[in-house]
């Protein structure tokens, strides 16, 4: 196998795909959509901040007497005074804290034509909570407001421990797993189309008189990973830039920590999983009669890799249940299942190691079988390969 020919195929495949209209539309359309959504989010946040001055309160309980962390809400002595200002149109609404608020927790919101935004109401809640803990020592008050954020989780079997820091740590691995899986499936879908196109165009017969099946598969896969990476890196840049912008205007991203241990585990799983995906796609592309049949099977292939996503609601109730363990050990679902479970539980070391070994074995078998099936099936123009033909191809001389 010579690297040069694989590189030529990769270069050709990359150039061909990045010039496709569908690629350009997906690659640049999605970031534009994302930026638009982030823009709306920032605008809404800015609007919320501006709204603070248009919201007042009447504190009949004395809870807000210290006015700790006052973001600028207008204080009124009586409801009559507040109502007059509301009717004059200077404010959009005001809160009234009941005299027995510390016992009843009763708060009334009075507003004119439109209810104040959810964002501005959240800020009033924060202002109220800051005053409720105002009597505590600052470091204690800070911990109360932030909630439990530094819990050490230790597995009973020993050997692994993790620190958890709340919701963001649950979402981040999930997002990371999805991101990687999406990149992988994008490449796989491109590859399937490339293989079926070659078969339909009859170009495969020409190309394979110049390169070996392994060189061909390696070149195609490398070129299409390049295509997928171009797409997802561009998206990632837009997402990071967008989130940085959002973070500059809001505190949504507070407490974000990169889960480096998970990044390491996912990296170890990604390479064999990608090889397995390429093997499966090549076999699928060769076995089907044409690209239409191939596209029909793409959905099934995606499900095979993204299955854990459908069971993610189970995470809250039973992240260590048999189904989740099965999905962790099953080769095609392992990466996403691990990513999804990572923030919700401490995955035992034996599951990680077993899953990785199974994945490596499957990728190895696929790497051995795919070129054989490819060699026998690639020239069956317009014909499906039967199950028997498939096994014959696997057994045939390489």
């Amino acid at each position: 196998m010579t690297m040069r020919k694989s590189v030529l195929i990769a270069r050709q495949e990359y150039r061909k795909n990045v010039r496709r209209r569908s690629f350009l539309l997906a690659t640049f359309g999605l970031p534009v959509l994302m930026l638009a959504m982030m823009g709306v989010s920032i605008l809404s946040s800015l609007q919320s901040a501006g709204d603070v001055e248009s919201l007042g309160y009447v504190d009949r309980s004395g809870v807000l007497a210290t006015r700790a962390d006052d973001p600028g809400f207008r204080a009124f002595a009586t409801e009559e005074e507040a109502t007059a200002v509301l009717e004059a149109g200077e404010i959009k609404g005001f809160y009234v804290l009941a005299p027995d608020y510390d016992r009843s927790g009763q708060v009334e919101l009075v507003y004119g034509e439109r209810q104040p935004s959810a964002g501005v109401q959240d800020r009033f809640d924060e202002f109220l909570r800051a005053n409720l803990v105002g009597s505590l020592a600052p470091e204690v008050a800070g911990r109360v407001l932030a909630g439990p954020e530094d819990i050490v989780v230790r597995a009973v079997e020993g050997g692994r421990e993790e620190r958890s820091a709340g919701v963001i740590d649950l979402i981040l691995p999930f997002a990371l797993g999805l991101f990687i899986s999406f990149a992988l499936m994008t490449s796989a879908n491109y590859l399937l189309r490339a293989v079926t196109d070659e078969k339909e165009n009859r170009t495969i017969e020409i190309v394979t008189t110049s390169v070996s099946p392994k060189e061909f598969i390696a070149g195609k896969a490398a070129g299409l990973v390049g295509v997928a990476l171009t797409q997802v890196i561009l998206w990632a840049v837009v997402i990071v830039a967008g989130l940085s912008l959002v973070a500059a205007f809001t505190d949504v991203m507070g407490g974000l920590k990169i889960p480096w241990s998970l990044v390491g585990v996912l990296a170890a799983f990604f390479v064999p999983l990608f090889i397995l995906a390429v093997d499966l796609v090549v076999i699928l592309g060769v076995v089907v009669a044409d690209s239409r049949q191939g596209q029909q099977l793409v959905g099934a292939l995606n499900v095979l890799f993204l299955l854990p996503l459908f069971f993610s609601p189970l995470l809250g109730s039973n992240p260590d249940g048999p189904l989740m363990v099965f999905l962790t050990l099953f080769p095609t679902t392992s990466l996403l299942a691990i990513a999804i479970r990572w923030g919700a539980t401490l995955i035992p070391l034996w599951q990680l190691v077993t899953s990785w070994v199974i994945l490596i074995l499957c990728a190895g078998i696929g790497f051995w079988a795919a070129p054989r099936v490819f060699r026998q099936g690639m020239l069956r123009y317009g014909k499906r390969m039967s199950l028997r033909g498939f096994f014959d191809a696997v057994r045939a001389r390489g």
Binding site: K5, L8, I9, Q12, K16, N201, R202, T203, I204, E205, I206, V207, T208, T209, S210, V211, R375, Q376, L379, Y381, S386, R388, G389, D392, A396, R397, G398
Partner: protein
Amino acid sequence: MSMPSVVAEHLGKSFGETKAVRDVSFEVQPGEVFGLLGPNGAGKTTTIRMMLDIFKPDSGRVEILGSSPDKVSKDRIGYLPEDRGLYKDIALEQVLLFLATLKGLSDAEAKNRLEPWLERVDLYEHRHKKVQELSKGMQQKAQVVATLLHEPDLIIVDEPFAGLDPVNTRLIKDIIQEQVAAGRSVIMSTHQMYQVQALCDRIVLIDRGRTVLYGRVDEIRRDFAANAVVVEGEGDFSGLPQVLEAREEDGAWRLSLEGGADPQEVLRALAARPGVKLERFERAEPSLDDIFITVVAGVKRPVARDGGAAPRDDA
């Protein structure tokens, strides 16, 4: 004698229950056009694919340019398949450059070689068009360029004249003959027997996966010649010595000879007969078309030549 470009010995290949090739043997020499013939489904394409190392033979041995197919550099082979295989949604020039670089040429070298080729086959003006925008004949000429651009030592062409008008057919024939004159081997598979007769030095005929006829075209035609002569001219051609029957066919006379008759004796008798004016006198050799039909239809048992043939097995 120089080393054969191709040696195929008792090749066999099955796909599941189907035996595509049972026993095929032949050799191809440098500097010859070799015809690989046979009816549809005879096993020609599978044989070609074994030569190209796309398939491995289940039995037998194939040697290409002195090595086994997996060891010989694929860059030394040029292949024109029956089904045109060019990327349809890419500009012609890009496709040809890509295929040439896969055959080992550098980008610059491929570019330098491509321009004169495109001019020669009258495609230079169309080089920026997508392949799907070209006519069938143009695509066929482009495929020929893709086959030859890297100057291979062994050229395998499957139906090279498909979709071509007479002018372009002549052009491709000239190109094939130039390649042979340059010492390269050309294996041609086609159903156009008159092209085989015009171009090929030797042929192998495969039927149902077996070699049924193998040898020089002129010798095969002689072997299949009936014991008869064809005569054209004026005068009476009946009642000649050693002639069993004289029959007029398409403006010529076909004289069936007795067993062991010498055509030269018949010629002398004709020349001596008063009132006879001869314009043509030749042995009645069948065309390759006739031989093909005779052998494949099993009308007549073939004569195996050069030790490479196998008797036809209808089983």
